[in-house]
């Protein structure tokens, strides 16, 4: 800790000097504040949007350029035959064919052949058998419980909605996985392609969901296939990343064994490399599925039918009880999909010897139960379509429960909300709003420089300059303020919780399990409790952000503290450290780099959630992006998306570099 202090002291003036100087200028130069109609250029970038941003030029008209490019792509005919938009729509039509099939199987049926959709008994039974096969009875129980909920609580059509969402996922997830896999393989095999792909993945993974949606609306249109395509684009990057990591981490010996056996290149790839990297690749599939689910829910904004759509409508109408019921369904599906795909990733092949039935027990059980289910369906319509009169709904009770809950807490929550606004959020907001853009550029540049790399300094300064010149500086600073406020609260909650959890094995397990579950929820879900408790305000947005993005803070703190080498701890105890000294003098300094990484992740999570929180009416970049969505303004959507991405990437570059430098100073492998 002392070391950090000396570093800061030594560089204090270099890093903060120009920033503070430019900041203090507001007391000297007359129109150096946001309240003036034409603020000084050194304070707010010229041609920025100050209040309502209708159409804004910005210092550099990125938006116009992008829109011109989009127009060009819409009109220009490749080889004089078809336009880019025709091309994308053509692809969309192919996607639609697959979608027709999965939708027919899951909820529409094949009317031309007079066949209905797959009856619920099949889905339930096969899910349970699959659970047994993948991991055992616990997983089977989870799957069974999930689908039983969907069947039972289907008074308002949760079953059909779920099937719609699942139909979309079962098209988009395999597509995204396939694209990610191919790109990953190509990147490993062709160094030059990797140099191109890696930064692309960085940007793609920090663009907010809505930027994708807007572009998809322009090039594909709205509705289910558009949602699926947006989802595919959104979900493939983690797959590509994990494929690259998996293939790179195969032990050199295994590859040599393949070469020495005389494998050709294709044999190497399909018989040695992909099977040997099976687990990381399948974890990529797991990630893809989770991203797909998150995006399918959000794709409701461009007319994707399914759970997300109905959730959105209920939320807009503040019908919280019904929204809650759908939310539970989304959460259950999320946990089930996550656990099933994780089990698939970690499944080892099992040795079974004996006759056919003994070797393939699950296959035989499946066939057997399919036969039984078919018979049941023909005997009784009950098994074909679960009758509506047996379904239940708790929404009325939930509504009342939520109402009385919030009513009883109305006064304390209100006091808390107002207190937060007046004493924490508003002052913080005005601090961020009063920061001059020139100062911020110099500030990040100085940090980049101090971390020892001219390249880093230039990169982060360029990122900030892009935001400043795009015209959305003021909005961006509100976003930064929201993220920063959430980060502070997350740290105040997450670090102590992490310390508490790292003390005992049992606590660690418990807390990490809870983190796991929370992380599987699609981010949109977190708006539900936020609206319930704090209605619509900055506080509710921050509340939603904080629950979602505390997860990595806790996780990394626990990880950092538990990873302090046992020897060092024993050495400290034998030197006579008390518990408190052990924590503050030994464990925390060693875990600090990891905690910084946690803060970085928290920041990314927060940035994503801020964008979604625009739905409950914050006035930062997210509001603009929502506006761009409703006007199908692709240029604006993309540029704002890039602003968000660059906020994230600036912080990411600096924090990751800082952490890895600290790690190497401490002698940890980076």
């Amino acid at each position: 800790m002392n070391k950090i202090k000396t570093i800061l002291r030594g560089n204090f003036f270099f890093i903060f000097g120009p920033f503070i100087f430019l900041w203090l200028l507001r007391y000297i130069i007359p129109n150096y504040t946001i309240s003036s109609k034409t603020p000084h250029w050194a304070y707010i970038p010229p041609k920025s949007c100050l209040g309502g941003c209708g159409s804004i030029d910005g210092l550099i008209p990125f938006v116009d350029w992008t829109n011109a490019l989009i127009q060009f792509l819409r009109k220009y005919e490749i080889f004089g035959l078809f336009t880019f938009r025709d091309f994308t729509r053509g692809i969309a039509n192919y996607v639609d064919k697959f979608l027709d099939f999965t939708e027919a199987v899951l909820h529409k049926g094949f009317p031309s052949y007079d066949i209905g959709p797959l009856p619920w008994v099949f889905i339930l039974t096969l899910t349970i058998i699959l659970g047994f096969y993948l991991r055992g009875w616990r997983l089977a129980l989870l799957g069974g419980a999930c689908f039983s909920y969907l069947i039972l609580f289907s008074k308002r059509g949760i079953w059909e909605l779920s099937m719609k969402s699942l139909a979309a996922i079962s098209v988009s997830a395999p597509l995204a996985a396939l694209i990610g896999l191919c790109l990953g393989i190509l990147a490993v095999k062709r160094k030059r392609f990797a140099n191109f792909l890696w930064p692309m993945l960085n940007i793609l993974q920090s663009l907010p969901h809505f930027s994708y949606l807007i572009l998809v609306v322009i090039f594909v249109g709205i509705g289910t296939k558009a949602g699926v395509i947006a989802t595919v684009i959104f979900a493939f990057p983690p797959m590509a990343r994990l494929t690259i990591l998996g293939l790179q981490n195969i032990s050199q010996e295994i590859k040599e064994a393949g070469v020495m056996a005389g494998c050709t290149k294709w044999q190497m790839l399909f018989k040695v490399e992909i099977p040997a990297a099976r687990s990381p690749i399948m974890l990529g599939v797991n990630q893809v599925i989770m991203q797909c689910l998150a995006m399918i829910v959000i794709a409701a904004f461009i007319g994707q039918p399914g759970l997300g759509h109905d959730l959105l409508i209920r939320l807009q109408g503040l019908r919280l009880g019904e929204a809650f019921e759908i939310g539970v369904a989304v959460v259950l599906i999320a946990i089930t999909l996550d656990r099933y795909s994780q089990a698939l990733a970690l499944k080892e092949p099992e040795r079974r010897e004996g006759n056919f039935f003994k070797r393939h027990p699950y296959l035989c059980t499946s066939i057997f139960s399919i036969i039984i289910c078919t018979v049941l369906v023909f005997i009784s319509p009950f098994f074909n379509e679960y009758p509506k009169e047996y379904t239940i709904s708790a929404s009325v009770y939930l509504d009342n429960g939520i109402k009385s809950f919030t009513r009883s807490l109305f006064v304390p929550l209100g006091i808390f909300r107002d207190w937060m606004l007046i004493y924490f959020l508003m002052p913080l907001k005005s601090i961020f709003q009063s920061m001059p853009w020139t100062g911020v550029i110099l500030f990040v540049g100085a940090i980049g420089w101090k971390l020892g790399k001219i390249r880093l300094a230039l990169t982060v300064m360029l990122f900030v300059f892009f935001i400043a010149s795009s015209g959305y500086w003021v909005r961006a600073m509100i976003t930064v303020y929201m993220v920063f406020a959430s980060l502070v609260i997350c740290a105040l909650i997450g670090i102590p919780l992490g310390i508490w959890a790292s003390k005992k094995e049992s606590r660690t397990k418990l807390v990490l399990n809870i983190c796991d579950i929370f992380q599987t929820f699609p981010s949109f879900i977190y708006l539900l409790p936020a609206i319930m408790l704090f209605q619509i305000s900055d506080v509710s947005a921050i509340f939603a952000i904080v629950i979602y993005s505390s997860i990595p803070m806790v996780r990394y703190t626990v990880f950092g503290l538990r990873n302090v080498p046992q020897q060092i701890i024993e050495a400290s105890i034998t030197s006579g450290c008390t518990d408190r000294q052990l924590l503050w003098k030994v464990k925390m300094p060693l875990a600090f780099p990891e905690i910084i990484l946690g803060a970085n992740q928290t920041l990314m999570f927060a940035l994503f959630m801020v964008m979604i929180a625009g739905f409950i009416g914050t006035v930062d970049l997210s509001q603009e992006i929502f506006r761009a969505l409703s006007f199908s303004d692709g240029g604006k959507g993309l540029i704002i998306g890039l602003c968000v991405a660059f906020i994230g990437l600036t912080a990411d570059r600096i924090l990751v570099e800082w952490s890895s430098q600290m790690k190497s100073k401490l002698g940890f492998k980076v």
């Binding site: 032990s251 010996e253 064994a257 020495m260 494998c263 040997a276 010897e353």
Partner: protein, 342 residues
């Protein structure tokens, strides 16, 4: 001699760094240690020339970082040498096309790895049959062959097991079986027993010797364990910082170490178990004495009778011809070699 060499390495260099080919060219393919260091190159193998004779066990011995694994990989062209030539059965391996290389590896080479390098998603049987599978052999034929090899290494009944279900020793048996499945001419073993417990290691060394007594392959065996080297080797090549310091039979290394480095290795080896009468005898003294010893008798066998008697023993070869003599003097000199300087 020329046609006896199965593999012949000529002036192999492997340097790591920027544009090493150019650097080598500029220094006439013979840079000094200082030059290499000054230009920030990391030398893995330096000017290594060595022949592997048909049917012999050549052990390449050296500590970690001495370049032994790199040299082995140059022999199979898993690593492309920066400079030099590798002849495999007289053909220049470095000029061979990708297709020819695949063909050679499929039929003539087998390799065993330190960490076994088994494919985790395949059963023992499928692992062993893997080299045959990539050749395109039919499933029935290759599994039959694989079963034979599995039997050979003593893993019968474990065909359906997955690697993770086996102990380290058993996994390396699978590795041995896989490398033997194609009936290779040359068998490369890269520290095959280093990752095993000492007891298992001993057992596996015996297994290896048993297999070799039946199969008579040409073998290049890498190890960092000198005991293992003298136990298994016909000839040993000692490497140090990329250079081959000395090549010779175990006896030669012990009796005539080329450098202090080699001497340091051989110092702690129990000579009585290794040296035979021939290697310590006085070659000039060919007089017939009353008692004789065979030239191949190890010292530990003859020591007590030579030391007990005051007389000199004749050393005879298989044809009972006298080729030298041994007395207390030679025996003591051989056993306490460290004192030779005094």
């Amino acid at each position: 001699m020329k046609n006896e060499a199965k593999i012949s390495c000529k002036n192999i260099w492997k340097l790591y760094g920027e544009a090493p080919e150019k650097f080598l060219k500029n220094t006439n393919n013979n840079p000094t240690t200082e030059e290499i260091k000054k230009n920030n190159y990391i030398p893995a193998v330096r000017d290594a020339s060595i022949d592997v004779n048909t049917g012999e066990i050549l052990v390449i011995m050296g500590l970690s970082g001495s370049g032994k694994s790199t040299l082995l990989r140059c022999m199979s062209k898993l690593i492309e040498p920066t400079h030099g030539q590798v002849f495999f059965e007289g053909n220049d391996l470095l000029k061979a096309s990708e297709k020819e290389l695949i063909d050679i590896r499929r039929h003539k080479m087998g390799m065993v790895f330190q960490h076994f390098a088994l494919l985790p998603h395949r059963t023992v049987l499928q692992n062993v049959a893997f080299p045959l599978e990539v050749q395109g052999q039919e499933i029935q034929k290759r599994e039959e062959r694989a079963k034979d090899v599995i039997k050979l290494v003593g893993l019968e009944g474990r065909e359906k097991y997955y690697p993770r279900e086996l102990s380290g020793g058993q996994q390396q048996r699978v590795g041995l079986a896989r490398s033997l499945a194609v009936e290779p001419d040359v068998w490369f073993l890269d520290e095959p027993f280093s990752a095993l417990d000492p007891l298992i290691r001993k057992e596996m060394q015996n297994e290896f010797l048993r297999l070799q007594s039946m199969l008579k392959k040409t073998i290049v065996f890498i190890t960092h364990d000198f005991d293992e080297a003298i136990r298994l080797a016909d000839r040993i090549a000692i490497m140090y910082e990329g250079l081959i310091v000395q090549v010779g039979t175990p006896e030669e290394l012990i009796t005539k170490p080329a450098t202090d480095y080699v001497a340091e290795f051989t110092k702690d080896i129990p000579r009585s178990k290794l040296l035979n009468a021939e290697s310590i005898m006085n070659e000039k003294d060919k007089k017939p004495y009353e008692n004789t010893v065979n030239y191949s008798d190890k010292i530990e066998k003859i020591a007590s009778k030579v030391l007990k008697s005051e007389s000199i023993f004749s050393v005879v070869d298989d044809n009972k011809e006298i080729i030298g003599s041994v007395s207390k003097k030679e025996l003591i000199k051989a056993l306490f070699a460290e004192d030779k300087n005094e």
